[in-house]
């Protein structure tokens, strides 16, 4: 076990070093275009890893998570919008709100907490449902959010663009949150809670017979994942600086799900791999298609060939690698370490390396 912990420490150190180094390089030496992509990638990672907690690890197949992203984005943006702009763009805001202007972190947290509360409320009705029903019900949630965003014009400017959001999101904010998210979800998944969730996912009835509260575990996963998804929404809002309800709908949902499926639902490192892969692929395709560089990740649904190609990639992956690139395994760093630094006292009994 000592060896395990040592290896884990090495893995964490390595990842932090690589990430930190990469970010530093990006900050200092990379072009603005690359920087934007890296920011977008960080946001995508948060989204995919959070979604994985619900879909992959707990088996609650949510199609409505982008709704939480919207809640996070709009809430935080409304809170951080400078007062002057509030008067101009949101003249009908209720009095107390019109006088509030918060900084980035509090606004983001409030948005995330709000999303979590919403998740709790709808979670209560949804968590007893089985597969396809959950999917349709969560899709219903997405539509409800859309309808509310489009029609609650006093708060959201309705279907018009919500602009003037202060540009708070930096490389470090995004990746700081990303690391936090990955860490939190990793810990959750590898705790007894996590094992319960996976038990439920694999065989609900058996899990129940063991006394595991299915509903409670699912709600916890759902709420935690909603929290981080909303954080990502806020990060995105303060990155893209202007958006409308259309940005939080079907296309975005599919985009995130593609990353999830590609990487492997049920694997945290898989989610990251999937996010990287699709981000890179989309950029390459988009450039090939247009010739101009457009650096945002979540773009409005009017574009052609690149989407078709991504859809085809998706179908091919599902047919041939239905469990995604990593399936439900994680990247086996430990095997790497044990090869590079073989244990000094070779105890034969310790052959079985748990890939972690």
């Amino acid at each position: 076990m000592q060896r395990q912990r040592f290896y884990n420490l090495l893995t964490v150190a390595l990842l932090l070093a690589v990430t930190g180094g990469g970010l530093l390089y990006t900050q200092l030496a990379a072009s603005a275009y690359i920087q934007r992509i890296v920011v977008g990638l960080g946001i995508s990672i948060i989204l995919v890893v959070s979604l994985n907690l619900s879909n992959g690890f707990t088996g609650v197949f949510s199609l409505g998570h982008v709704g939480f992203m919207a809640i996070g984005a709009y809430t935080a943006a409304i809170l951080t919008l400078p007062l002057s702009l509030k008067r101009v763009n949101l003249p009908d805001l209720p009095g107390w709100l019109a006088e509030v202007q918060l900084s980035f972190l509090p606004a983001t947290l409030i948005g995330a907490v709000l999303a979590t509360i919403v998740a709790l409320l709808i979670g209560i009705s949804l968590m007893r449902l089985s597969g396809p029903y959950v999917a349709v019900a969560t899709l219903g949630f997405l539509v409800i959010v859309q309808v509310v965003l489009v029609n609650w014009a006093s708060m959201t400017r309705g279907s018009r663009t919500f602009s003037g959001v202060p540009s708070f999101t930096t490389l470090w904010w995004v990746w700081g949150w990303a690391i936090l998210t990955v860490y939190a979800i990793w810990r959750l998944v590898n705790s007894s809670y996590g094992r319960r969730m996976m038990a439920i996912r694999d065989n609900e009835i058996a899990a129940q017979s063991l006394g595991i509260s299915v509903v409670r575990s699912r709600i916890i996963a759902f709420c935690v994942s909603a929290f981080f998804t909303a954080v990502a929404g806020s990060l995105w809002a303060h990155f893209i600086l202007s958006f409308s309800p259309k940005a939080f709908y079907f296309v975005e949902t599919f985009s995130i799900i593609t990353m999830l499926v590609l990487g492997g639902s049920g694997s945290v490192s898989g989610s990251i791999v999937g996010a990287v892969f699709i981000t890179v692929l989309s950029e390459v395709l988009r450039n090939a298609e247009r010739g101009i560089s457009i650096a945002s990740i979540h773009i409005p649904p009017m574009y052609g060939a690149s989407q078709i190609l991504v859809a085809i990639v998706f179908i091919v992956v599902i047919i041939f690698w239905p469990k995604g690139l990593l399936g439900d395994r994680e990247i086996p760093f430990n095997r790497l370490w044990s090869r590079l630094l073989p244990p000094k006292n070779e105890k034969q009994g310790f052959k079985k390396e748990i890939p972690f």
Partner: protein
């Protein structure tokens, strides 16, 4: 106009829309029953059929011919979809199939954007279908009458099909228990093809009626109908054909009711209320109205 007349008009409206939802939902239910596949791309069959019809209309063909061609196009598209995208993943977890249908949707919608460009195109329908008939004090859109009559005819035919023909009974059998169906020697590939063909044909019919009603078509026109069809299916119980019909009409009635009863400030939120209602329904009946209320037993 008296309130009775208003009520009747709205009732006809509700039944007409409900008919469209019911026909769509049946297509979904057929496929879901056998394959456990939630076919999002079902909505795009509407789009394919409508564009096909439009092309023929542009070419100068008479409307009835274009309409038939549109329905045929939907049917063929559905069969192709099944063969290429869904058969290779048969037996995959439900989730994978659902996601693949997403991918197919995106594929079809973007293909339509590339070919036709995203702006809506007007759908020229003959005048008789667009005007209203006067029955005494009542004014009823002829399209509503057509929709209701067509729906009833199709439903009757469908009922005969699933209860009297061998293929129809096989379809019900496959829906109940796919393993047993294979062991009994039902040609499951053929049955699935039938399910897709019939469902897609119904989608084509709905597409035409929808296009005439709305007056224009665009690449995303299938999204809301398929969503409504899902809601209808879920209301009635996924996989159940009578459930789909029931759900469709309930949804139609619910929409018209809400439209009438909601205060003016809230009417834009109507769809939100419908979905909220769905979520509440699922709280009490996790498997829909006609689905079992019991949890799965071992």
């Amino acid at each position: 106009m008296t309130s009775v007349q208003f009520f009747i008009q709205q009732a006809i409206n509700a039944v007409s829309i409900g008919s469209l939802y019911a026909l769509m939902a049946i297509g979904l239910a057929m496929v879901f029953g056998i394959l456990r596949l939630i076919n999002f791309a079902h909505g795009d069959l509407i789009m394919v059929g409508s564009y096909a019809a439009l092309l023929l209309l542009w070419a100068g063909l008479p409307f009835w011919l274009a309409a038939l061609a549109g329905i045929a196009a939907s049917t063929i598209a559905g069969l192709i979809m099944e063969r290429i995208a869904y058969r290779p993943i048969r037996g995959a977890p439900d989730v994978a199939m659902l996601l693949t249908s997403f991918a197919v949707t995106i594929l079809l919608e973007n293909a339509a954007i590339l070919i036709f460009n995203p702006t809506a195109k007007p759908f020229p329908a003959p005048a008789i279908l667009k005007n209203a008939l006067q029955f005494g004090p009542l004014r009823i859109a002829s399209l509503d009458i057509v929709a209701i009559v067509v729906a009833i005819a199709l439903l009757v035919l469908l009922t005969l099909f699933v209860t009297r023909t061998e293929v129809g009974i096989s379809m019900r059998a496959a829906s109940e228990d796919l393993l047993a169906a294979r062991l009994v020697g039902i040609n499951v590939n053929a049955v699935i093809a039938y399910a897709f063909a019939i469902g897609s044909m119904l989608a084509g019919v709905v597409g035409l009626l929808w296009s005439i009603r709305v007056g224009k078509i665009d690449p995303f026109m299938g999204f809301y109908p398929v969503l409504k069809a899902f809601v209808a299916s879920v209301i009635g119980g996924l996989g159940s054909l009578p459930g789909a019909v029931l759900g469709g009409y309930i949804l139609g009635i619910l929409e018209i009711l809400l439209q009438g009863l909601l205060p003016a400030s809230l009417t834009p939120f109507r769809d939100g209320f419908v979905f909220a209602g769905l979520i509440i329904l699922l709280l009490f009946r996790p498997n829909g109205i006609l689905g079992s209320t019991e949890r799965e037993k071992i």
